[in-house]
């Protein structure tokens, strides 16, 4: 963490301030929504927005304190090195694509491609192993969820075509 010269990355302080601001923004949204729902204490006890309103206020207030604390402490530490973040993003980005593609391609096709990509790219496995896991897992999933427990999972054009 302390070795700044060799490995660069975003400072812990910057990220922490960013997170704090995001939380405060969330608090403001909550307050806005609560005001819309009614925040006063009616004849029958508190109304729908009463609790969320104060919860929102607490979020904003706590964030303000956290922001101040984050500004004060400056040990120059890194949040993470760029190489580490690249590792993290190499999971987040494909997962995001996977999640985004789910409604259109269905679960099975997307999962096959996702598992295959992950194993081939990050694990450097042989194609045979990759194919076995990438096809085996969705098939087992299909059997357990759809056949056994009768829980329908999202399907796309391929499943439609296969008549599943």
């Amino acid at each position: 963490m302390s070795s700044q010269g060799r490995s660069a990355g975003p400072s812990h302080k910057t990220v922490e301030l960013g997170v704090t601001l995001a939380i405060a923004l969330f608090g403001i949204i909550v307050i806005a929504g609560s005001v819309k729902a009614g925040i006063n204490w009616g004849a029958e006890g508190p109304r729908a927005g009463f609790f969320p309103f104060y919860v929102g206020l607490f979020i904003v207030a706590a964030s303000a304190m956290n922001f101040r604390n984050a500004l004060r402490e400056d040990d120059g530490g890194l949040f993470a090195e760029w190489t580490q973040l690249r590792q993290v993003m190499s999971v987040v980005v494909p997962t995001a694509i996977y999640v985004g593609a789910l409604p259109f391609t269905g679960l099975y096709l997307a999962s096959m491609i996702f598992i295959a990509w992950f194993m081939r790219w990050l694990g450097k496995y042989g194609w045979l192993t990759v194919a076995a896991v990438a096809i085996g897992m969705p098939v087992v999933t299909y059997l357990i969820f759809e056949r056994w427990f009768m829980v329908p999972l999202p399907k796309g054009p391929v499943e439609e075509w296969l008549g599943l």
Binding site: P152, G163, L164
Partner: protein, 332 residues
């Protein structure tokens, strides 16, 4: 002999093959999703799972029937899901009164007209219950007590701005008495709150309170229907569902029945609707279904097609009036 058998078999085969298209024009080719716009364990859920069990046990469908709960936003989640599945014949939904109340109270963009009506399976009765330790013997006694108490007596019910609260408001309007209405999550919980004396009365469905009645913990005062229920098998101390007087005969002129009906997604073809109507007719004929109707003291009215649509339309108007009067409509 052998030849005869072969001929007979062949004849039987042609007969059987020829018979199939004549009986059913359309059939599901994939598992049918049975949406329940309420949580697991509630009245609608129980009915849906009973139907699923009957269909499986008596082999009434070639494809499986899969029950899915979509209870978010007082069932709005389920209704919007079916509304968005236009033209999908593999999705049906069972409804309760939240078919009307949820869009009115929350303002979500949905109306029953977005769906295709299939059939009314039964109507659920509502009964006014009090704790058995309390002195109220008739509905009149109780209403008198409520008036005396000036709004401090508590009515427990399922959900807010839904059927139980609508009945409560209707009672207030009819009698001038005032209740404190307390909403709970489910009917079973409401019944137990009555036994524990945390509320003073409930308007539970028969199936929700029958166990406590048999145990001698609660007392039915009247039923919100035009005529007494038809089940004369004694439940407790020689009393049967039939012996509960109508609320009208007690001077409380309110009728309320809850729809337990089936709808399909928008733009369903005629033969698809036909298939489900036939299916539910078969379900209704099974002894398991009749047993279930008896346990819950349901009103077994069955309707399909135009009759059903008309009934739903009248009910919707009624709910709109009732909820408008009670001030339950969504503000936006």
């Amino acid at each position: 002999m052998k030849r005869f058998v072969r001929v007979a078999f062949a004849a039987g085969l042609t007969l059987a093959v020829g018979a199939i298209p004549a009986v059913a024009g359309w059939e599901p080719v994939r598992p049918v999703e049975f949406i329940v716009p309420a949580g697991t364990g509630g009245g609608a859920d129980q009915m849906a799972r009973t139907i699923q069990g009957i269909v499986t046990k008596h082999n009434l469908m070639k494809q499986p029937l899969v029950v899915i709960n979509k209870s978010g936003g007082a069932g709005g989640e389920g209704f919007l899901d079916v509304k968005a599945s236009a033209g999908n014949p593999h999705k049906i939904i069972i409804t309760l009164s939240n078919l009307f109340t949820t869009p009115l109270a929350t303002g979500i963009p949905f109306s029953w007209k977005d769906l295709t009506p299939v059939a009314m399976l039964a109507l659920d009765e509502f009964v006014l219950w009090v704790n058995a330790d309390k002195p109220y013997a008739t509905a009149k006694d109780y209403i008198e007590a409520v008036k005396q108490a000036g709004g401090t007596l508590k009515m427990g019910g399922t959900g807010s701005k839904q059927e139980d609260q609508i009945i409560t408001v209707a009672m207030e309007k009819a009698t001038g008495a005032k209740f404190t209405y307390i909403p709970y999550k489910g009917g079973g919980e409401v019944a137990v709150q009555l036994v524990g004396n945390h509320v003073d009365s409930t308007v539970n469905n028969p199936i929700e309170a029958v166990a406590q009645w048999r145990g001698g913990k609660v007392r039915p005062l009247c039923v919100f229907d035009a005529k007494p229920m038809g089940y004369d098998e004694p439940i407790t101390e020689g009393k049967a569902w039939k012996d509960i007087p109508t609320c009208k005969s007690q001077g409380l002129d309110i009728e309320y029945l809850m729809l337990r009906g089936i709808f399909m997604a928008p733009r369903a073809a005629k033969d698809q609707v036909e298939y489900y109507v036939e299916l539910f007719k078969k379900v209704r004929e099974t002894p398991d279904w009749q047993e279930f109707m008896k346990t819950g003291a349901f009103n077994t009215t069955f309707m399909t097609g135009a009759d059903y649509a008309k009934w739903v339309e009248t009910e919707e108007k009624r709910h709109e009036t009732l909820m408008k009067e009670a001030g339950f409509l969504a503000s936006n």
